[in-house]
């Protein structure tokens, strides 16, 4: 198991480097110029100096190498400094946003709590709904509950978040006026009333995200349960005289959870990507919204860092899911 994990870890390195290279090359081809906002009266040689100060103007491979060093060495050092009050990273050039001239990582760190709060809640809610629904649908296959559940998950799977989001805004914010249509991130929870306000503004984005995630997970859960309910060991367990509850909730459920747990792990980075649209609809100023504004403002370091963070998340959770699969199902281990 350990060799398997180590082998997967080693393969993650070239994957990350390849992704970094693709992101870097893609943005190298960007026609946008960060100097385009500089007044025309500024002389050309000053402009060249400014380009050099921004880290442009050097050959491509050197800049790629510098960017990798910045991302993997200087930024973690800064984090270390902040945590322990040391000064290892002092004077080293950090990844600077072209929009605000402040370190990219600091801006991202400001935005992460909003995203995690909304997306995380949606994910937890979705899992809490999807697993029981999947279990019951599979246990009573072709019953009314199963038919209705399958239809609803199919709809949830097909309706894109930019439509379901707008739809719930029309119904609950415009017509009924129950919830605010814009997520206020400056709101602070101090007492019960402000907690209720926070809850109210979270309901709609969480609902939209959770509908999508629930549909995917409960489809998986149902299929996985159905596969296992047909197995011989279930008949054996019943023949031994075990209660129906034990058979389904212990024997079948534990085996059915194996693929579902990995699907849940694999879905976590995709949620960050999918939340770009939901954040845009509800004006949550999280990471996704940061990415959109950075793209529109031609802020290359920000786009590079954010895209690369998404890539790191995907690779990490892929790795996590693989290892988890190996731990849960001994047949999968390759060693």
């Amino acid at each position: 198991m350990l060799t398997f994990t180590i082998r997967r870890l080693i393969f993650a390195v070239p994957t990350l480097l390849f992704t970094a290279l693709i992101i870097f090359l893609l943005l190298e081809l960007a026609p946008g110029d960060p100097m385009s906002n500089v007044p025309l009266t500024v002389p050309d040689d000053v402009k060249q100096q400014m380009r050099l100060a921004l880290g442009l103007g050097e050959p491509m491979h050197i800049r790629f190498f510098k960017w990798i060093v910045q991302f993997f060495w200087i930024e973690p050092l800064n984090l270390f400094d902040q945590m322990f009050g040391t000064t290892f990273a002092e004077g080293k050039l950090r990844v600077i946003s072209w929009q605000s001239r402040s370190p990219v990582i600091d801006i991202i760190a400001e935005r992460i709590p909003q995203t995690l709060w909304v997306v995380g809640t949606a994910y937890v809610v979705a899992i809490a709904i999807a697993i029981p629904v999947g279990i019951y649908s599979a246990y009573r296959q072709y019953s009314f509950f199963d038919q209705a559940g399958t239809f609803i998950t199919m709809v949830g799977y097909s309706v894109p978040p930019f439509f379901s989001g707008v739809l719930v805004i029309v119904v609950f914010a415009v017509n009924l006026g129950w919830f605010p249509s814009i997520y206020d991130t400056t709101h602070k929870v101090v007492d019960w009333d402000s907690f209720v306000v926070q809850l109210k503004q979270m309901i709609m984005p969480v609902m939209v995200l959770a509908l999508q995630i629930t549909s995917q997970i409960s489809r998986f859960m149902r299929a996985s349960m159905l596969d296992n309910l047909e197995q011989d060991y279930v008949r054996t367990a019943r023949a031994k005289g075990m209660g129906e509850r034990t058979v389904v909730m212990v024997h079948v459920l534990r085996n059915s959870m194996i693929p579902v747990v990995t699907v849940i792990a694999l879905g976590i980075p995709a949620i960050f990507g999918g939340a770009i649209i939901t954040e845009q609809v509800f004006k949550v100023n999280g990471i996704g919204q940061l990415l959109i504004t950075a793209i529109q403002a031609n802020d290359l370091p920000m786009v590079q860092t954010l895209t690369f963070i998404f890539a790191v998340l995907i690779v990490l959770f892929n790795l996590f899911a693989d290892v988890l699969y190996g731990i849960l199902d001994p047949r999968i281990r390759y060693d």
Partner: protein, 304 residues
């Protein structure tokens, strides 16, 4: 090899394998309804302009922001353009992007899958490549790609053609991996079968081997991933248009219409509703067809 005759069962006349598939497909009511709706939408989008000949780009400021009426079934927008005509025009683009991107992704996926499965030497390299592509954050990369290449491609192919080429290639290049994996798995299994050995023993070259013996037998997974690919492509195109990174504003697609409608959400919510419904209905029916096809093409289910 002859079928062992079972007493009591009349020997059936030989018939095409696709009739069996159709029989099984018919059993799945959702798939049947889905296929009906999908064909209906395709028909409306294709022949709609003949039946409803209002120009979707013709502005008429005097009759702007109208509600539903016989003259304008879905009303008119803030410039007095007929929304029904714009829906049809938008559908043509959305469907066009969806089908072309699906075709591209299936062609790439099948090519990679067959080559990886058939030629052992290329298997490792191609599958690592597939894994690398699967690890890319697709949505952010798509956004960046569209932003970067919009200008040069618009200059080369014209504003509409350029974006069309860009959308189709971007979606196609980022969605072939699942097809490749499934096809490779099937090709690996097929390679061990006797008919492949027989074909090889009479000296069939690899090219003919693939086109005559392998490809026809991996058609089922390709068809299923093709249907699901349409859904994925339509959603991706609409999402990009919704984020304002799609087709130019005067060029309607369903996603763009939805994006434009959001500004008038409080006064005219129906402007968001129609394009959203069109996208959701198309994707829903395509997903149901995919579900039905998967069941119908699975020989383990079909016999029952």
């Amino acid at each position: 090899m002859t079928e062992p005759s079972i007493p009591g069962v009349a020997a059936r006349p030989p018939r095409n394998h696709w009739w069996d598939v159709w029989d099984q497909f018919k059993v799945h009511k959702g798939a049947l309804v889905g296929a009906f709706f999908f064909l209906l939408i395709v028909f409306l989008v294709l022949f709609g302009p003949l039946l409803w000949d209002i120009d979707p780009t013709k502005t008429n400021i005097r009759s702007r922001n109208q509600g539903m009426s016989w003259a304008h079934p879905f009303g008119t927008d803030q410039l007095g353009r007929d929304i029904f005509a714009r829906m049809i025009a938008g559908g043509r683009v959305s469907m066009g992007v969806g089908l072309t991107a699906m075709a591209l992704s299936v062609i790439i996926g099948t090519f990679v899958g067959v080559i990886a499965g058939y030629f052992k030497r290329l298997d490792g390299v191609l599958m690592r490549l597939t894994d690398l592509f699967l690890a890319l954050p697709l949505m952010p990369l798509l956004l960046v790609t569209v932003l970067l290449f919009r200008e040069p491609l618009s200059a080369a192919f014209g504003p509409e053609g350029g974006i069309f080429v860009l959308m189709v290639s971007a979606i196609g290049i980022t969605s072939w991996m699942q097809t490749a994996r499934i096809v490779r798995g099937d090709v690996l299994a097929l390679k061990e079968r006797e008919f492949v050995l027989a074909a090889r023993s009479i000296g069939t070259p690899p090219r003919r081997m693939i086109t005559r013996h392998i490809l026809p037998n991996v058609m089922s997974p390709i068809m299923v991933s093709a249907t699901l690919g349409i859904a994925n492509a339509i959603i991706t195109e609409s999402a990009l248009s919704f984020l304002g990174l799609g087709f130019p504003p005067d060029f309607p697609t369903w996603g763009r219409l939805l994006f434009d409608g959001v500004d008038y959400l409080t006064q005219y919510p129906e402007r968001v509703f129609w394009p959203g419904l069109a996208i959701s209905l198309t994707v829903l029916s395509v997903n149901y067809v995919g579900d039905g096809l998967r069941d119908a093409l699975d020989p383990r289910i079909r016999g029952r």
